[in-house]
């Protein structure tokens, strides 16, 4: 375990640049950009108000700082510190701001989702897109950054518009056969758009890039429907998690269901290995863990470690009884993630919150079940290898890594962090992760190509190099 010194931080705004060289963090109205290798401050920018959202452009040249309260967006250039850009949305207000994939356009969503304004940094041209729909996932870009799909709502009907990102020209505009569209997602190959309906109705529609309806799938009726959707990186499978606690895999040829994965609370199959997290005694004198953390703060906090134990097979998992009379009940498959090589699928059933299921996609069967001590907050696959980072939370957050390829499953990096909520992300290149606590602003995992695990405590950030675990003190 190795930690950097702690940095001040506000609103949990801390992002690695996509190329992994820089780290941007916010302290009130100041934006600090550091060099990752030396941790020296590279640039310091001062914004007009307290920053609420920051985002790196895809080419790591610009940083966008959004101040929603003032309806302001400020853009800073890393190469030219004196260059500045300020976008004022005026009385229309601002609720969201993001970069286009080319890093030269900024998409601002006005209050009440009146319109989306596309500001260009290259030309004076400004484009407006009317009627954007306020939904779970209304905007999605293809992976090559060429097209943007936008969910719209006009005259009580859902529409999808496909724009060409290079000149923001409308390519296709078609209505979707949905009651209340909840989200859209491009397939990684950029040729198929998945559109799913609100949770009141199980319906998923697949549209080609040219707006043709390829297929529609409905597993059942009269019950709460889709909760989460994920494409496999190979665009071969579409995993649909629903409120009935099942994941259904659709294939890319016929768009029919290949198989469905149930998430029973009791596991009887002796072929499935169930790993149970267990508390470990004081870690003193234990090989790698005994390596003294350089920070004196870390020592007293590494009080409890944990490890995985293989449970004997008829296992009953801890379940939560969902309150069905309330909106958004805690049930069904709420989290889905394919590994980068598409061989594994990790899922979490929300009424079995402590458990992560890992499915073998090659054999289309359950592979491993990981039961944690605390509820799973999030998990992410390593983009390089079949390795899963799991974040569990409660009063204490543990972060662990799980290898699917080998038998090397266990507790490579246990840690306990006293944070209320954490998000994890894997770096795309060197296999390190980031953790955020209380990530209100950050919803999408951010790829950090830089070594080390960043655990922002309340206002402080630490970098454990050659990470084995990390601890953040409570304030």
């Amino acid at each position: 375990m190795n930690f950097s010194e702690a940095f001040k931080l506000s609103s949990l705004l801390c992002r690695f640049s996509p190329d992994g060289k820089y780290l941007a963090s916010c302290v009130q109205y100041r934006l600090v950009v550091r060099d990752v290798s030396t941790l020296q401050i590279r640039q310091l920018y001062t914004c007009l108000d307290q920053i609420q959202h920051i985002e790196w452009s895809a080419d790591s040249l610009f940083i966008l700082c959004a101040m929603y309260r003032r309806g302001l967006v400020q853009v800073w250039s890393l190469e030219q510190p004196e260059w500045h850009c300020k976008i004022d949305e005026g009385s229309a207000g601002l609720v969201a701001s993001c970069w286009s994939p080319d890093g030269r356009h900024i998409l601002n969503t006005t209050e009440f989702h009146l319109r989306i304004t596309v500001w260009s940094l290259c030309t004076k041209s400004v484009s407006y897109i009317k009627y954007p729909k306020a939904c779970q996932q209304g905007v999605t870009f293809t992976r090559d950054g060429r097209y943007m799909a936008l969910a719209e709502r006009r005259d009580c009907k859902d529409y999808v518009s496909i724009f060409v990102c290079s000149d923001w020209q409308l390519l296709r505009h078609f209505d979707t056969d949905t009651q209340d569209l909840a989200g859209i997602e491009w397939a990684p190959n950029g040729c198929v758009l998945a559109v799913w309906d609100t949770c009141l109705e199980y319906k998923i529609l697949l549209y080609s890039l040219d707006g043709r309806l390829l297929s529609a799938y409905c597993a059942y009726e009269w019950s709460l429907g889709i909760k989460s959707v994920a494409w496999s990186p190979s665009s071969q499978f579409l995993a649909v998690g629903s409120y009935d606690g099942k994941v259904r895999l659709l294939n890319h040829v016929t768009w029919k269901m290949i198989t469905e994965f149930g998430h029973p609370a009791a596991i009887n199959n002796p072929k499935i290995v169930v790993y149970k997290e267990a508390e470990k005694g004081p870690p003193l004198g234990l090989g790698r863990l005994s390596f003294p953390p350089p920070l004196p703060l870390a020592a007293p906090l590494s009080a409890s470690e944990s490890k995985y134990e293989i449970a004997s097979v008829p296992v009953s998992l801890q379940t939560l009884k969902p309150a069905t009379d309330r909106a958004n009940p805690r049930m069904g498959v709420g989290m889905l993630a394919f590994s980068a090589d598409s061989y594994f699928l990790a899922t979490r059933n929300d009424n079995v919150p402590n458990t992560v299921w890992v499915w073998d996609i090659q054999k289309l069967r359950l592979f491993v079940v990981l039961e944690q001590l605390a509820p799973v907050r999030s998990f992410l696959w390593d983009p390089q290898q079949p390795r899963l980072a799991i974040c569990t939370g409660g009063s204490k957050v543990t972060f662990r890594c799980f290898l699917c390829a080998g038998i090397q499953v266990g507790t490579p990096w246990p840690s306990s962090v006293r944070i209320t909520s954490v998000f994890v992300s894997w770096t795309p290149k060197r296999g390190s992760t980031q953790l955020w606590n209380n990530g209100t602003a950050m919803r999408r995992p951010w790829w950090n190509p830089q070594q080390g695990l960043r655990v922002p405590g309340l206002g402080r950030t630490r970098f454990p190099w050659e990470l084995s675990g990390c601890h953040v003190p409570a304030q």
Partner: protein, 613 residues
């Protein structure tokens, strides 16, 4: 007990009635009065018996009592107490013996009766207890019946209640169903209502939005601005282009290109997959054909229609297989053909396998009574044997090849010729040696022959001399014995006869020698032959061969000696000839033995030489 009593009583009474009638009849004539008196008195008498036993018979009524008893006893079948009177008038006298007998019998009867009574009483008791038990049982069963009846009633009651409940529940279910239906209807109506409301609200909201939009956006809001120091270049380095129809068309083109690329990629993948699958199919087909073709004969023999036709298909397909290019064509007909043929073959295979399964099961069922089916063990043994043989043959071939190679490689043409030459030389030398030996032997032979002829001549001369001597001696004897001249001629005859007899003598001698000779031959030759036959196949050792040879030669020399005297006899010629031959073959002397040994070794060496090339 009471029943029994009631049953027995009437009989007894009837009997007694009969008896009494009979007695009254019999006693009517002599003294009816008396009898009546007795009868009358009997009643008080019986009373008397009951009151005091001694009062039955008193001093005064002895007669009466005796007569009464007699009467009674006779009625019961006892002999009369009185002696039989000769006349009616004379008073009958009491027969004491009869009385005593009667008494004894009565006593015996009494005892019997007592015993019977006892038995009956015990039986009665037993039956009574049985009766009690049965009554108890009956009571219990009755109770049980009662309880079960009660239970049944209870159960029936419960059943009724449950049925009632069930009916109620059914009713409730129906109600619930109705309720559900109603609720569903309500939900549906609510949903439509909600949707309707939603739509209305949304419309209103949209109106508001529109209004807001107009208000906010169309006011030329000075605030909505972008303040940039200087515009930056595009990420791709290109300049932005104006939106025209052209760009639109270009965008469309690009989109379609992307889609096309995707489809092409997918098609390629599918093609690859197809190719692989085709390969697999092809292989499968080939394997199937190879699997099925050896079984062609058998099914044909069995004259199975389906297999016959199918096999012709297989052959056709085998013909098709050669046209490999067909596989690359992915037109529908070929595909159909392929799938059809595969299907057919699969069917054959399946049927065949099923048949085999059936056979196996049959064999299992029937045991080993299938005669024409060779058992597996035999098969295996046979195959093992054959494999071994093949292995041996292979090894042989290998060694031969190796030898050939060695010869081919080690010996060039010159060396081979040289080698051949040297072999020839050796042979020549050996031949020369043999030749010289042969010559020597010939010389010896000739010498012997000469000796032999000389000896024969000598013998002939001696014989002549001897005969002359004998003739002279006979003449002398004759002359001595007979003085008559005329007898001379007879003597001549006699002589001739004698000469014949001499011949006979000779014959006898000859037979003797003959008897001797075969013996000698048998002594020598079989040993030799056996030895020869024994020693020939094995490596011949001259050392053990020579002595036998010499022994044989000794024998033969003896033979020769034996023979020589009878040489002149004509019978002897053939025998002599054979003997001669034999003697030639087995010439005495160490040289001969050596020769034979040599020749043998020579042949042996020759054999070895044969082996070499």
């Amino acid at each position: 007990m009471g029943d029994w009593m009631t049953i027995t009583d009437p009989g007894l009474s009837a009997e007694s009635k009969n008896i009494s009638q009979y007695t009254s009849e019999t006693k009517m004539s002599p003294s009816s009065l008396y009898s009546q008196q007795v009868l009358c008195s009997s009643i008080p008498l019986s009373k008397n018996v009951h009151s005091f036993f001694s009062a039955f018979c008193t001093e005064e009524n002895i007669e009466q009592s005796i007569s009464y008893l007699d009467q009674e006893l006779t009625t019961f079948g006892f002999p009369s107490l009185y002696e039989e009177s000769k006349s009616k008038d004379t008073k009958r006298e009491l027969n004491i013996v009869a009385v005593l007998n009667c008494m004894n019998e009565l006593l015996v009867l009494q005892r019997k009766n007592l015993l019977a009574q006892e038995n009956v009483e015990t039986k009665n008791l037993k039956l009574g207890s049985d009766m009690d038990h049965l009554q108890n049982c009956y009571a219990k069963l009755k109770e049980q019946l009662e309880t079960s009846r009660r239970e049944m009633i209870g159960l029936q009651e419960r059943d009724r209640q449950l049925q009632c409940k069930n009916r109620n529940l059914h009713q409730l279910l129906k109600n619930e169903k109705d309720e559900v239906q109603k609720l569903q209807n309500i939900i549906a109506s609510r949903a439509t209502q909600y949707n309707h409301d939603m739509k209305r609200k949304e419309r209103e909201y949209n109106k508001l939005k529109e209004r807001l939009h107009q208000l906010v956006m169309n006011k030329k809001d000075k605030k909505i601005t972008m303040d940039v120091l200087n515009y930056v270049g595009r990420a791709d380095g290109k300049r932005g282009s104006w939106r025209t129809g052209k760009t639109e068309a270009r965008n469309e083109d690009e989109m379609y290109k992307i889609l096309l690329n995707d489809y092409e990629y997918r098609q390629k993948q599918i093609l690859m997959e197809n190719a692989e699958l085709k390969k697999v199919l092809q292989q499968m087909k080939k394997e199937m054909i190879s699997l099925l073709s050896p079984q062609k004969k058998k099914p044909r023999e069995r004259a199975d229609d389906s297999t016959g036709t199918v096999i012709s298909d297989v052959e056709e397909d085998a013909g098709e297989l050669t046209r490999e290019s067909m596989w690359d064509l992915s037109c529908e007909t070929v595909r159909e053909q392929l799938t059809n043929s595969i299907r057919k073959q699969w069917r054959i295979l399946k049927s065949h396998v099923e048949k085999l399964d059936n056979q196996v099961s049959k064999v299992h069922l029937e045991g080993f009574n299938d005669e024409d089916v060779i058992s597996r063990q035999d098969h295996e043994q046979e195959t093992e044997k054959l494999e071994l043989e093949i292995q041996q043959c292979k090894e042989m071939i290998k060694t031969q090849q190796q030898l050939l190679q060695q010869l081919a490689t080690a010996c060039d043409d010159d060396t081979t010729s040289l080698l051949r030459d040297c072999y020839l030389l050796e042979e020549k030398e050996r031949l020369k040696e043999e030749w010289s030996l042969f010559k020597e032997q010939k010389k010896n032979f000739e010498k012997e022959r000469r000796n032999f002829t000389e000896a024969a001549i000598r013998l002939g001369l001696e014989r002549k001399a001897f005969e002359e001597e004998r003739a002279s001696w006979l003449k002398q004897q004759f002359l001595n014995m007979t003085t008559f001249d005329h007898q001379n001629s007879e003597n001549v005859k006699l002589f001739s006869a004698f000469s014949g007899s001499s011949d006979r003598d000779n014959l006898i001698v000859h037979s003797r020698t003959q008897q001797k000779k075969p013996h000698s031959v048998s002594n020598g030759s079989p040993v030799c032959i056996s030895k020869l036959t024994k020693s020939l196949p094995a490596s011949p050792s001259t050392s053990d061969f020579c002595p036998t040879r010499s022994c044989v030669s000794e024998h033969s020399s003896i033979n020769v000696l034996n023979i020589t005297p009878e040489e002149t006899t004509p019978n002897q010629v053939g025998r002599e000839c054979t003997n001669q031959k034999w003697s030639i073959a087995s010439r005495p002397g160490s040289q001969e033995g050596c020769y034979s040994g040599c020749s043998l070794t020579y042949t042996n060496s020759h054999v070895e030489k044969d082996d070499l090339p």
